[in-house]
């Protein structure tokens, strides 16, 4: 079978603070027939910070990333909600506003790049849902979880606004839940499922951000889950560190696991190869306690 190739836009946060997410994404996708190749010579997408101060510079940053992918004739995979949301917003803007597209292309012409709108930006959830599909995922499960209950956290910028990001139902998202179910685990429903982790507020007000994160964690614990499955670098980090500070108001600690790590283990991939030893709140004796034989 020929591998489908896609360009991985790593973003700023993942390669510095969450290499295990990057690595497990690549390993799991390769097993499922998708080769995630690094997009090189890129720049920050500009989400949140440049976006707020200089919207036109934000358009140029995103436009350049999209144009680099056009040069390679491949779609973009983003595994961070901020990056996928930002790039999709810029694609939408450049496709609908000719004057800003001309301005961006003027800047890109210096290095022989041009944005024409040929490539798509996909979030990791779309690769599973649209490119790989649940039937193939189900077939890949060789070490199903037993009596493990997991809560899905989708990430605001991954799923909203639907008209632009087009990933999943923004009020009742199901992609992560379906994947949790087909690994043999139970997808636990909880209050505040579609609400924010607090991550975007960290820079401005860490205390409030931590309160928001802790509120979500407590709702998940009350629903009886063993852990939370995420699909965004920012959410993964925020939901973890909101539990660790001395000021934290969580009623208990609960492991936060990225989707490819969680899925990969059920596919028979190695605990260490998936970087699970790096997760600060270990799931070794809870989620992965049934570390059974590979069928």
């Amino acid at each position: 079978m020929r591998m489908k190739e896609i360009l991985l836009y790593r973003g700023c946060t993942t390669p510095v603070r969450l290499s295990e997410y990057e690595s497990s994404t690549k390993i799991v996708l390769k097993e499922l027939g998708v080769d995630a190749i690094d997009l090189v010579n890129a720049n920050c997408c500009g989400a949140q910070f440049v976006e707020s101060l200089y919207p036109r510079a934000h358009a140029a940053l995103g436009g350049r990333i999209l144009a680099l992918a056009e040069q390679e004739e491949k779609d973009i995979l983003a595994i961070c909600g901020a990056c996928s949301g930002s790039l999709k917003h810029i694609k939408h803007l450049l496709d609908s506003d000719e004057s800003i597209r001309k301005e961006v292309n003027g800047l890109l012409a210096h290095e022989g790049l041009k944005y024409t709108g040929k490539v798509e930006v996909k979030h990791l959830l779309q690769i599973f849902n649209e490119d790989i599909g649940y039937r193939a995922l189900e077939k890949a499960i060789v070490r199903p979880y037993q009596e493990v209950r997991m809560a899905a956290h989708y990430g605001c910028h991954v799923t909203r606004p639907f008209e632009i990001v087009k990933v999943d139902d923004p009020e009742n998202p199901t992609i992560i839940d379906r994947i949790i179910q087909l690994t043999g685990a139970t997808a636990v429903q909880y209050t505040s499922k579609t609400q924010c982790c607090g991550g975007p507020l960290l820079a401005m007000d860490e205390e409030l951000a931590t309160k928001i994160g802790a509120g979500k964690i407590n709702n998940v614990i009350r629903a009886g889950a063993h852990g939370i499955v995420t699909a965004c670098a920012f959410c993964q980090i925020q939901l973890t560190q909101t539990q660790l500070g001395s000021e934290s108001t969580v009623i208990n600690r609960i492991p936060i696991i990225t989707l490819p790590q969680f899925l990969g283990y059920a596919m028979g991939l190695d605990y260490n190869d998936l970087g699970l030893y790096l997760n600060p709140i270990s799931a070794r004796h809870t989620v992965f306690r049934t570390a059974g034989e590979v069928a």
Binding site: S23, N41, L53, R56, L61, R64, A203, L208, G215
Partner: protein, 163 residues
């Protein structure tokens, strides 16, 4: 039949409404579903999106631009998802932020982050340590992250008046 809205007349509202994406502010009926949906409002007495939009509607331009409140929106867009009038507080507050930035009111953390991105091409150059490089090498990941730091110089020249 022509739809009628409650149209406030403050010049600040008109200023926002004249910007691309800002016209939705005129559809706000101050129902408060944004505040009811807001995670920040749940944990903070200060930040309530409905109240902040109301300040714009009644023309408190200086107060809003000099305040840090527009910078507390997480742009999670849950309120936008629920607003039946199609108002996006996130989009409105982004316009307010850009306007505030033009007039020199930018929270330090935002200014610092923008400086880093426009200097290095990405945000976390200073945090990328030898330790992380070793960790990446052990996982078979590329140690050289191949960031481009030249394009941002061009952006600085164009949008910030000089590299």
């Amino acid at each position: 039949m022509k739809r009628e809205y409650h149209i406030p007349t403050s010049s600040f509202t008109e200023e926002i409404a004249a910007l691309s994406g800002g016209e939705v502010i005129e559809k706000c009926i101050q129902c408060g579903i944004c505040t009811a949906s807001c995670e920040v409002a749940r944990v903070s007495e200060r930040y309530h999106p409905r109240r902040l939009i109301q300040k714009i509607l009644i023309g408190k331009r200086k107060e809003v631009l000099e305040s840090d409140l527009p910078w507390l929106c997480m742009t999670c867009r849950l309120c936008e998802e629920r607003c039946q009038e199609g108002v996006s507080p996130a989009d409105i507050f982004q316009l307010v932020r850009a306007l505030a930035a033009k007039e020199g009111f930018v929270p330090k953390v935002f200014a610092n982050a923008v400086d880093l991105v426009l200097r290095d091409g990405w945000l976390l150059a200073a945090s990328y340590s030898d330790f992380i490089e070793d960790e990446r090498e052990g996982m078979g990941l590329d140690v050289d992250l191949h960031w481009d730091d030249t394009f941002v110089q061009r952006l600085k020249a164009m949008f910030l008046g000089g590299a």
